[in-house]
Symmetry: C2
Subunit: 307 residues, 2 copies
């Protein structure tokens, strides 16, 4: 048990914030944890679950004297929060976040920070479709990547300290620029979520096939999309509003590729279909080899059991 930061402030206590609280508790990474949440219910639940030592209804109060401040609310809230907490941040404090976009976060947060505060944006690539303070667990970050996007004038010692924190949470840490992060995540996360939301919408609006049929027969593939399409709507609205350019770029490419497949189906071009389907298998195998998923049939959704 090594205390890495004497006082840590969590601004927002949902899936990620509560998971961070659990791992800090279980590994003794923080001397004290303070928290801010917008809703009364979340504040009460956070105390009840022992996630934080003290909870505040003002973000500025929560960050007072904190050595590490972590923004864990939807990215659309960061600008106003930075404006509020900026003057209250302790000189030398380390400020980071867990938002799914990084360019817009730098744009919204940086102007409000006083000199002497180390701002190092971050993004743990970890999550489930659950949300809220009850949904967190200490193991969420284990063997997952956490991307840090240090700014050109970030203090190397602060980057090192934040890297150590995420490693202690079980993550592997990688650095890149905010711009590159936003491109990478546009294809690995934002576009998949958009597509998933969209197909669920398409299915819901059919006249020839009822919703109850869609639900009944979803094991054929549809349900794979619904998991990520059940993610927090506020968080995802903010992601798309704040990573517009990169998402539209990836979406354009996706639509082009889809038109080519559509054409292959229309013309009965089995060879093209077979080639595409064969290539995608290789990518799946690479993901399993990289330890980012399990090869268990059906994700163990339907575990074999004796009758």
């Amino acid at each position: 048990m090594t205390v890495l930061f004497e006082r840590v402030a969590l601004i927002g206590i949902g899936l990620i914030g509560s998971s961070l609280a659990h791992v800090m508790r279980s590994k003794g990474l923080a001397g004290e944890i303070t928290g801010y949440a917008k809703s009364e219910a979340t504040r009460a639940k956070s105390v009840e679950l022992g996630l934080v030592d003290r909870v505040f209804d003002s973000a500025a109060d929560a960050v007072k004297d904190a050595d590490l401040v972590i923004l864990c609310s939807p990215v659309g809230t960061y600008g106003a929060l930075a404006q509020e907490i900026g003057p209250a941040l302790k000189p030398g404090a380390l400020l980071t976040d867990v938002g799914s976009v990084k360019g817009a976060v730098v744009r919204d947060v940086l102007p409000h920070l006083p000199p002497g505060v180390n701002f190092i944006p971050g993004h743990p690539i970890a999550g489930t479709e659950q949300s809220g303070p009850e949904s967190g667990f200490a193991e969420l970050f284990i063997n997952r990547w956490c991307i840090l996007t240090p700014l050109p004038d970030s203090d190397p010692k602060a980057v090192e300290a934040l890297t150590g924190f995420w490693r202690a949470c079980g993550s592997n840490v990688e650095n890149m620029t905010p711009e590159h992060h936003d491109l990478v995540l546009a294809i690995t996360s934002h576009l998949p979520h958009l597509i998933a939301y969209n197909i669920v919408l398409t299915a819901a609006d059919l006249e020839e096939v009822t919703s109850s049929e869609v639900i009944k027969y979803s094991a054929g593939g549809f349900r794979d999309f619904t998991r990520i399409a059940a993610s927090d709507p506020t968080m995802w609205r903010d992601v798309f509003l704040n990573n517009r350019e990169a998402v539209l770029e990836m979406l354009g490419r996706f639509s082009e590729d889809l038109s080519a497949l559509q054409r292959a189906i229309r013309w009965g071009d089995g060879e093209t279909l077979f080639d595409v389907f064969t290539r995608s298998r290789q990518i799946r195998r690479s993901i399993i080899a990289a330890g980012q998923d399990t090869a268990a049939p059906d994700f163990g959704r339907n575990p074999p059991k004796a009758q």
Copy 2:
């Protein structure tokens, strides 16, 4: 242990065929199981694993004297197989299949059958991304739906017998017309697979983001698509070639809906995005309530464990 059919012939021994063999063995549903597979390796493996009692390199030989014949190979092979086995089928035999399309199966198989054979197309909505005779397991069909599409002159007793067989495998059985089946599956299974294949392709072809980055950060959502995009390429080529009209119809609707979301992103219309994302949550909840998926965070991919 009740023997439902004295002799069962499996034509094709992949994921579904081998899973059927396992469940027939474990529940004693068949007096004897014969099998046909195109490849020597699959035939040898099927005997080695004890899936079949006798294996043949001719489908006509495998179906001789069989009471129940189940086509378990890709649907593109059915026409030629029906032509071959038609004359060898025992009068009164029950012929079914497990193909993912039904209209085209009726079109390809029916003309080759002698009078007195009961042909009842079927489709178990169950599977994993694995394939081959080693991939099967007896529990694959438990609590899954199996759709039967009896023909207008199907013998009700044969329908009843086949229904009993699938129930003994653990499935719930539903009847519908081949045409309606193909529409339902186009949205619940075929379109999701096409979309999944397509996004994997889009990701693989990017210049700004490397394949290794896509793989590393796939936990952000992308990996959910890769599971179904790793399914058997031959089977899926045949599905798209044989359910063209319904797939193109669903794809057209999907693309329209996607254009609307694209527009909302371009115009910064957060309200539309939030509404769409909120609606899709409800569908996810219905799928879990219907028992077709688990609510376990992350499908239990990353099970919490003590450190």
